[in-house]
Structures are given as C-alpha cells and as structure tokens.
C-alpha cells in the first residue's frame, strides 16, 4: 500500500532522515521503533505532507511526495499526531467533524455511530469540550478523529506517550481490533516491546537510518534489540 524509497528529511542543516526505504503492505501493521531523535516522527510527517522530504513516497502506486498535506489526507492517509493534539476548545463531536472535514453531511452520521461504538466513552461526552477529557480519552478521540476520514492507511505517532500503562494496553487492543477489521497501520513507537508484540513487521531506526528490519516476532528475539530497546540485559 505504501512504498517509501530513499526518503530524506532536512530541517535546515539537520539531516533528520537519511535515505530510508520501507514498505507497508495491505492489511498489515508495520512499526518503526527507535530512540528519540532517530527520525521516526519526521518520517511520518513526511508521509503526511507536513514536511517536504526528498525521495519517493508511493501510496497505492501514486507519487504523493509533492502533494500538500490536505490532499494526502483526501487520498486516504490519516495521522494520529504525537501528543494527541485534539482541539481542546472544540467539543468532541466537533473534533470528529474536523476529522471528517471532507465528508458529505449524509456520510457523517453513520461514521459518528461507528466511532461511538468503538469508543463508548466519546458518546457519553459528545457535547463536552475535548479539553475536559483525560489523556487516555484524548488519545481515543485522536484515533477516532483520524478514522473519521475513513483512511486506508492509519498512521500513529507514539500513541502510548505519557499514558498510564493501563491505557496503553487499551490503545493497543483497539489498534489490534482495527487491524482485524482490515485497516492497514503504520505505527511509530518508543515503547518497542508493545509495538513489536502488536506488529507484523518492524524497522529499527537509528540516527536517521534503518539499522535493522524484520518480522516483528524475530526482532523481539534479536539480542541487539532486546538490549537497546527493550531495556533487558
């Protein structure tokens, strides 16, 4: 579904992503793990069109590298940004409406229902400001908001960041469920253990390059990964 070739991201003089290539096959969960500053977020932002990269990004065979962010969203890629970034001054329903910005009014109603089914907590509080939600609830809302555009590819940037272990488990359960429903997922995580348990395939990023890649289960067994990213001795 997604084919990234020789991707480079620069911030001024800083070379954040140095020519990485990877692919996300249909219906799979692929994860990018690595330390802070390894270039994981930059990669996601590049795919979403928030930074201008060099290289090639093919989505369903179409080159999207030069497209503006809102056009990329329309093609069927949604990003759940790092730190959730829900619109705190908007109600939960309005947040969902923002997620489905380019949907027709008639399409929205069933989508709301679907989201409320997936995240019952949102239904109870549909008319409250998103700022009143707890961190975990905001993460749910951020995922629901992304799903409102009915994306074929769902990208998540550190969904476990700053969440209680309890909530992290819940979030990962939901991702599993979404994947079971056939959604393709690209997941960026520092919480390597849980990301690899969930994913089909994993890439380890180090200093802007791919240091390791392989089946997620294989990476979980890899000594190097265990030592550096799972904190095991």
């Amino acid at each position: 579904m997604l084919e990234v070739k020789n991707l480079n991201v620069f911030y001024g003089v800083i070379h954040a992503v140095k020519g990485i290539s990877f692919s996300v096959p249909d219906g799979k969960i692929v994860t990018l793990i690595g330390a802070n500053g390894a270039g994981k977020s930059s990669t996601l932002k590049a795919i979403a069109g928030l930074v201008r990269p060099k290289g090639s990004i093919l989505f369903k065979g179409k080159e999207i590298n030069k497209l503006p962010a809102h056009e990329i969203t329309k093609l069927g890629i949604a990003l759940v940004p790092e730190g959730r970034r829900v619109f705190v001054n908007l109600t939960i329903l309005e947040n969902l409406r923002m997620g489905g910005f380019n949907k027709k009014l008639s399409e929205l109603e069933p989508l709301y229902e679907k989201m409320f089914e997936l995240f019952p907590i949102l239904k109870e509080r549909a008319y409250q400001k998103a700022g009143t939600l707890s961190g975990g609830e905001q993460q749910m809302l951020a995922i629901a908001r992304a799903l409102m555009s009915e994306p074929e590819l769902l990208m998540l940037d550190e969904p476990s960041l700053g969440l209680a272990p309890l909530i992290v488990a819940e979030v990962f359960d939901i991702l599993k469920e979404l994947n079971n429903q056939g959604r393709t997922i690209l997941l960026v995580e520092q919480n390597a253990a849980q990301a690899l348990k969930l994913a089909d395939y994993g890439y380890v990023l180090e200093n802007g390059t791919i240091a390791l890649e392989g089946e997620a289960s294989g990476l979980l067994e890899n000594d190097e990964v265990r030592k550096r990213y799972l904190g095991e001795d």
Binding site: A48, G49, L50, P68, A69, H70, T73, K74, A78, L79, P81, R85, F87, V88, N89, L90, E94, R97, M98, G99, F101, N102, R145, S149
Partner: protein, 298 residues
Amino acid sequence: MNLTIVLQQLVNGISLGSLYGLVAIGYTMVYGVIRLINFAHGDIMMVGMYFAFTGIAMLFLPWWAAFLLSMLASALVGVIIDRVAYKPLRNASRISALITAIGVSFFLENSFLVIYGGVPKAFPVPSLFGGAVNIHGVIFPNIAIITPIVAIIFLMILLFILHKTKYGMAMRALSLDFETVRIMGVNVDLVISVVFAIGSFLAALSGIFWAMRYPAINPLIGIMPGLKAFAAAVLGGIGSVAGAAIGGFIIGISEILIVALFPSLAGYKDAFAFLFLIFVLLFKPTGIMGEDLERGRF
C-alpha cells in the same frame, strides 16, 4: 445634563462603539488563528475609505456599488498582505511576524500618501446617511442609527459562519495548531485567507462608516481608531469575536460619555483608550471574556 442629551450621547457612543467593534473583530480573528497582532489592520480601514472615495468621487459609481466594491477590494488587499508578507513567516518567531506587520502598516500608510497625497480629502456622504431624524424632539443623525444596525447584522452573520459552518469550525480549531488541522484534510492557507478577507472586509465597512461620520480622510486616519479597536479587542479578551464587539461598545460609549461629562478633558480623548487598556492589563490581563491568552477561541 438632561435626558435628551444623555440619550443622544448614548446613541452616538453606541454608533462609535460599533465602528471600533467591527475593526476589533478583525484583530481578534487574525490573532485567534495565527497569533499575530496585525498592526496593519487599522490601515485597512483607511484603505477601505480611499477605495470608496475613489469609487464615488473619481469613478462616479453609485454609492452602494462603490461601498461594496471597496469592501471586496479591501478584503483582497488583506488576503494579499497575508500571502506576501505574513505567510513566509508562519514558522518564524512571533516577534518577526510582528515586526513585519509594522512594516506593512507603514507601507500602506506611505504608499497611500504617495498615491493620494497628504492633503485630507472630503469624503462624499450619500444623502441617505447625511440627514437626521427627529424622534420626540430628540435629533439623531441617520448615520448614528444606521451604523449599529449594520454592525449587528454583520456580527450575526459572522457568528453564524463561525459556529454553524465547517469552515468556521476550522477557524476555531486553527489557533496555532496548523499541523493537526492540515492533516484533517483542511486547506489551512485557504482558511487563513478567509479570515483575513473577513477581517479586512469588516474593517473597510467600519472605515466607510467612519468616513461618513467624520468626512475628511487622510492616509494616517486609520492609526487611531485601529489602536482603539485593538484596545477593544484586548478588553473583550483577544480571540473572542463577541468579546471584541462588546469591547468596542465599551470603548466607544465611554469615550463619548467622558467627553460629554468632562468637556475639559476633550483634548485627551485619544489617550483615554490606552489608559483604559493599561488599566485592564493591570487588573485583568486576559480581558473581560478571555480566560487564557495562550488559548484562542472565537
């Protein structure tokens, strides 16, 4: 002072206040989405006046056509200013954008000075706005009655757009989180352009009514009302459209009443808004309707 005079002054104050309010809305909306005090906003008032003046006095258009064209053209000027001067600085520090805004303000004032000269021009007032009505022995100038009505109509339209349309919702969502709004599939640059267009349109509207109230216009005429409108926006809590309108009324009415009650202070009336502003900042730094300066909302 008897009741008639009080009433007259009150109507006068409401009318002036609605002019400040219309300009204040532009400040507040632009600040709400891109966190920029658009110094040049007051000058858009002046631009609107000169465009309308050109339409009536030089192109001999009917007044309504001249007014409408002027407002549309001013909206376009607002959009161009944003695209040319502010957009390249979206990711720069706020101080850079603010300095640029001062540059734009200066540019507008001086290019109109170059084009139209520094000598004040007499603004042609259409007869509809020129007369006065006598209600039970109290004389009200037409303009003083029409102004608040027009202002309130446009305010209602604006509030409808903000709260009932998806683009209005996008404007409210924008407050400094461009990235997230962008990945919702929203063309953020377009939304920001719309904000500038609305703000400039209303500023031009206010400018035209200002020019009919005080019918001599010059290229520096926008500075003072612009600043007072800014004071009104802060007073109302910057980021809040309703607050801006209320702030405008408060500044307008108190300015008129103070001059009416203490004629000896008339010379200081232009300084009054700032004392008011400083006072507000001292005791309620977030304004009347505002809660948190760092969190925008309409």
